[in-house]
Symmetry: C2
Subunit: 335 residues, 2 copies
């Protein structure tokens, strides 16, 4: 039980998910403080049935706050998370600002809950695509250390916020009505289209989203040498990411072993029916807590029996963001 819980970025897509999950998960606190930019301050949002006025992040002190969920962009996290931590709060930060900071634990509760203990006021919530991949891949890695991961993502609009989800709907209406879609949030039309994730491309030719999947997975798994390559793609889906994951293990592994491990894994729901077909889909992952995993099969391109293919879908706003943060807070509450 916390005294005061703050939600920074309360009016955003992830912020709203935090509020709904606080209710659903029964996160206990005497007081909830909703914070956002000056532009959104003054709005009223219900938390556990009680109306709360959103306050201006820039002018509201963090005194008395135990836990602060930050989801207001990297810039605001960099500026305000250290202030919140200095005021005594534990910040659970959904931005990328502190994820690779060696003094900040980066936590997926199903993977490395013990890392929460090492925090110095800030705990980082990993990138959404990273979390969704890590939840099913970790128990497999524990059973049979991975040598290599090749992942291709199918990422929903929600990863770019509420305005991106609205843009997908608006543009789709435009295309169906014969109007030219007008990109505002995304640099390219998203309606009936897809494009390489538009985060900046680094010197190696990978975009930031891809590099996050590589580096964050290594940090979370405590496997600094793990070979990972990723291709991140935005698709016209609203709020669940999917990923095609090709795995190479140290030793041969069978489809049945993988299915058994995943069936017992926390946070995973195996959805892998071949006839009639039923596999992970964004519309079924949306609103679900679990990462749906299916298409589990031996990789026929690896004749040594060390390869496995799988396909997953998970809610980008829940397990990919707010739910993972709430679970980190639950770990703190149990300490």
């Amino acid at each position: 039980m916390f005294h005061t819980v703050a939600i920074v970025g309360a009016t955003g897509a992830v912020g709203k998910e935090f509020i709904s999950l606080i209710e659903q998960r029964g996160l206990q606190a005497e007081r909830f403080v909703l914070l956002a930019s000056a532009r959104s301050a003054g709005q009223t949002l219900d938390v556990r049935g009680e109306p709360h006025t959103v306050q201006d992040l820039a002018t509201t002190p963090f005194d008395g706050v135990d836990v602060a969920f930050f989801s207001a962009g990297g810039g605001r996290s960099k500026e305000f998370a250290p202030r919140a931590a200095a005021a005594g709060a534990v910040v659970i930060d959904n931005s990328s600002a502190f994820r690779m900071d060696p003094n900040v634990p980066l936590v997926v509760p199903e993977v490395n809950p013990e890392d929460v203990r090492t925090h110095q006021g800030i705990i980082a919530n990993p990138n959404c695509s990273t979390i969704l991949m890590n939840v099913p891949v970790w128990p497999l890695h524990k059973a049979n250390p991975l040598r290599r991961i090749v992942v291709s993502t199918y990422q929903a609009a929600s990863g770019a916020g509420l305005s991106a989800m609205l843009e997908l709907e608006e543009q789709t209406r435009d295309v169906l009505a014969g109007r030219k879609p007008e990109p505002k949030v995304f640099p390219f039309p998203i309606a009936f289209n897809l494009f390489s994730h538009n985060s900046a491309i680094g010197p190696e030719g990978y975009n930031e989203e891809e590099i996050k999947m590589v580096r964050e997975t290594r940090k979370i798994f405590h496997a600094p040498e793990l070979a990972i390559t990723a291709t991140c793609v935005r698709v016209p889906v609203l709020r669940a990411h999917s990923e095609a994951v090709n795995l190479t293990f140290s030793r041969p592994i069978t489809e049945n072993e993988v299915r058994e491990i995943l069936s017992a894994a926390p946070g995973v729901r195996v959805v892998d029916q071949r006839d009639p077909q039923h596999f992970p889909m964004p519309i079924e992952a949306s609103g679900a807590d679990d990462v749906l995993v299916g298409r589990i099969r031996r990789d026929i391109s690896q004749p040594d029996g060390c390869g496995i293919e799988l396909f997953l879908s998970g809610d980008q706003l829940r397990k990919g963001a707010a739910l993972n943060g709430i679970q980190i807070a639950e770990l703190l509450a149990h300490q």
Copy 2:
């Protein structure tokens, strides 16, 4: 110059593309015969500005036909292609009916044009995802033999025909209006969703589309042992497929070598600008003849320097189907 060219399945999405390409590519023939099922017979379609009545495939003989483009499903190909061949036509068959038949050449003109010569009346047009991957991958394989391909696809509705494209639009309208989408052509909702390609799953856990990419590529490349794994996914895009392709070569290869080879490769357009970003997208591939290729980068998960990542988009109805067939006919015309 041919005497008579027949288009079987003339009223379908690929059939219509054949008709438009005959005009655009200037394919010469004295006579065009349009054929379709009894249900579609009687319709009138223009070929090179002249109205043509669609005739019933079941009752129209193939006498005098030099080339017959078949795109009316595997069942009709199995029944009528041998009849057309027996009547003296060369069948260019877009179905999967004969692709793996050792007596039937399977041809991507940029890859194995010489195989056309071995035909015995039927030439198979490969699967759309296979063609689009083969066009850029072949010149790389020629320069530095491939050891392994890991591909994940992002396949448009058009691969399931005109009715699937209409279903995507109709369902999207439904979802935007708050109505529940009703799947008819696809087994699952396609609007704002994606799902594992719904072709039948075989004993190894791969679906038919994936197995086609594996086996057809091996046949076209004359590389029966080439290690390939594929994950095929249907996405809410209208008519261009995309693919994330991870390649492992026999020897180290640089990003620049790949870019140079692809820049000179027939049927390929390199679209690979990092800042501001411009990479292959379905909306730009739609209606184009070339396969767009970008996101070319060294695979950081392969420290030996033998790995390359790339991303492609290509028009499923053109190079993925009708254009490849027309190019095969052009090879025949030059013989």
